[in-house]
Symmetry: C2
Amino acid sequence: MRAEIITIGDELLIGQVVDTNSAWMAERLNEIGVELYQITSVHDRREHIVAALDEAFSRADIVLTTGGLGPTNDDITKHVLCEYFDTHLIEDQRVRAHIMDLYHERPDVLNRLTATQWLVPENAEILENRVGSAPLMVFHHGSQLLASMPGVPYEMKIAMEEQILPYISRQLSAISNQIIHRTLQVTGIPESSLAILLEGYESSMPADLHLAYLPKDGIIRLRLSSYGELSEEEMNRWFAELKTLVAKYLISDTDEPLEVILGKLLVARGKTISTAESCTGGKLASLLNKHAGSSAFYYGSIISYDNSVKEHLLGVPNELIKTRGVVSEEVAHIMAESVRRQLNTDYSIATSGIAGPTGGSIEKPVGTVWIAWATPQGTTAECFHLGKLREQITDRACTKALVGMIERVRGFED
Amino acid sequence: MRAEIITIGDELLIGQVVDTNSAWMAERLNEIGVELYQITSVHDRREHIVAALDEAFSRADIVLTTGGLGPTNDDITKHVLCEYFDTHLIEDQRVRAHIMDLYHERPDVLNRLTATQWLVPENAEILENRVGSAPLMVFHHGSQLLASMPGVPYEMKIAMEEQILPYISRQLSAISNQIIHRTLQVTGIPESSLAILLEGYESSMPADLHLAYLPKDGIIRLRLSSYGELSEEEMNRWFAELKTLVAKYLISDTDEPLEVILGKLLVARGKTISTAESCTGGKLASLLNKHAGSSAFYYGSIISYDNSVKEHLLGVPNELIKTRGVVSEEVAHIMAESVRRQLNTDYSIATSGIAGPTGGSIEKPVGTVWIAWATPQGTTAECFHLGKLREQITDRACTKALVGMIERVRGFED
């Protein structure tokens, strides 16, 4: 079973919006055994959408489209689909009732443009869009299938989870091809050296097993993929061997984000954490509380972007800032210990660095970051040089901070 | 001049990586007058890459590819391009010297896999990749052009800015078609009502002028686009008329992110800001210091995720939390005033809400968020209901917080 995604919207092709939908949809499709063959992004233009539909149907069993379903004139997907599937719009009383209900507290929304939302293609199956006004449409094209969803990520996600994925699963009478991905994460080895280390392993792999290297911010994710014949047991055996080969560099044998790995470690041990951030400015904090359940281990942070905040809230002596500089081992130490003590947590992380573009010097160029980790066993700090671009530096600093904390929390338990 | 982007990598099609490159590239191409016609994401598979190249060359003058240029076996783009353009790999001494220089402090990287990076297609022009080992390759295909870049976002961005965009600009002897986009942002009106308000305007627009509605988190971006005949003066006139029509709802007549708009307002007035965050947990802080120059107005934050931090660092009385609840007007007030006073800033914002999935009640369901704004003129707070999904709630809370602050900073000046 093979699928393609067509994302529709000028905003994608002029760079006004990043397409985050496709990756999320791809992951969900893989989980139910559907291979995503291609993602295509096209303008809100009739002839362009039609060409993309023709191409997708020449390759895929299932075509999923997102976008172009709003009530305004620039949104044309519903009309193009009507033409493509040779049908016309009719009023749908169920959709009408749903929209009436959705906006019953906001009568200003119930105008004549919103009323066009309950016009649906006659030969489409209409599924409920619980959280929005655009109906979800499923068209049958011989043995092929097209499902059209809104482009708003929240609406698309609920539509996929509650309607489209169950619908597709019902079509899959028996999953013949089981797609299996297994990912582990390593650090402290260059990608090319890792590949040399794994040469023997790779050359012994069966043809339908595939190994991919995904480096990012100093972490390499190693992904084993099978799109077919391999059983779960065989896959587990190959994965276990891979794990043994890279054991020295292993951070995790899952694809979970670092903050989730750390969170689970802390929860399992009943421990808590706080952060004191300068250059990362809250990025580390928002990673730590991004996922549900973070209140079990994450207490809070003091973001000391300005030096006055380092002095008054974190107790960094002005004298120290003058003599050692704000980006220094001593300052990072004090920040970490102060936030750990004040927020009364078991662990804490502090970052102080130069994210640029200005503020660098010959001794401390842009990209210099000190990170300190305070633990019940003491405080240690390390200096990193993390590149030249602001976003790159703060992203990498968060990665280093999390890896360092994971190693320390694990280390004290071993 | 028309371009297409082909992003290459299994990770995109199994949802392991979100393609942020394409939006960034699209924006840059538009700026120099190149229209992006389609974005296609394909697997690291020979026959699939070849099919995508054929299709792209049937439509576009310029084809840009990203990804598949690493030294490991799963990366095949360079080999496929060699075959596609009927050439073979030769050693490039300039690239070799560059890689030697790049890794002179890390001899472990200079292994035989890295050495494959200085093998380049004989008939390609090789441009310098200043920050990585994969050479940038430009192929000529009759009058058409293909440029191949790494998929790592930092490397791609530097390659585009320093090499590929100047290269394309030189090819554009004269920009015949000027692409102009103008965007403004409004709030406080439903999308459909806005469209009805603008019906007369839209029906009077010339055929090559296009109006798009981009709603997100309670903000609607309205974008006027011209891909051709309209002069800058005509465009300015249309945009000015649009601005007048939506004046009542206008937040900004630019496409700048809200945090940039607020930052500029504060800098122009010589004012500073801090935040006290509970449910947004650092997201607001990291928005405020995301962009270069933020140290001029942003001082820092106290992230009080746990109630103990609200009590001890923000002075919220335990009694008040017990009687009014932590998600309440009173608590948000105290949080905002406390952080403003402690960090000694002119303004501050506080958030306290229920991001879910647990923690909701009948009176205060998941999605309930109190936001308080402290200013030299006093403190005000507002309660919002921002949906059901954790990420949606915290994103929308940040939007509401920034809009409220922009209105207050502006209001006191008018």
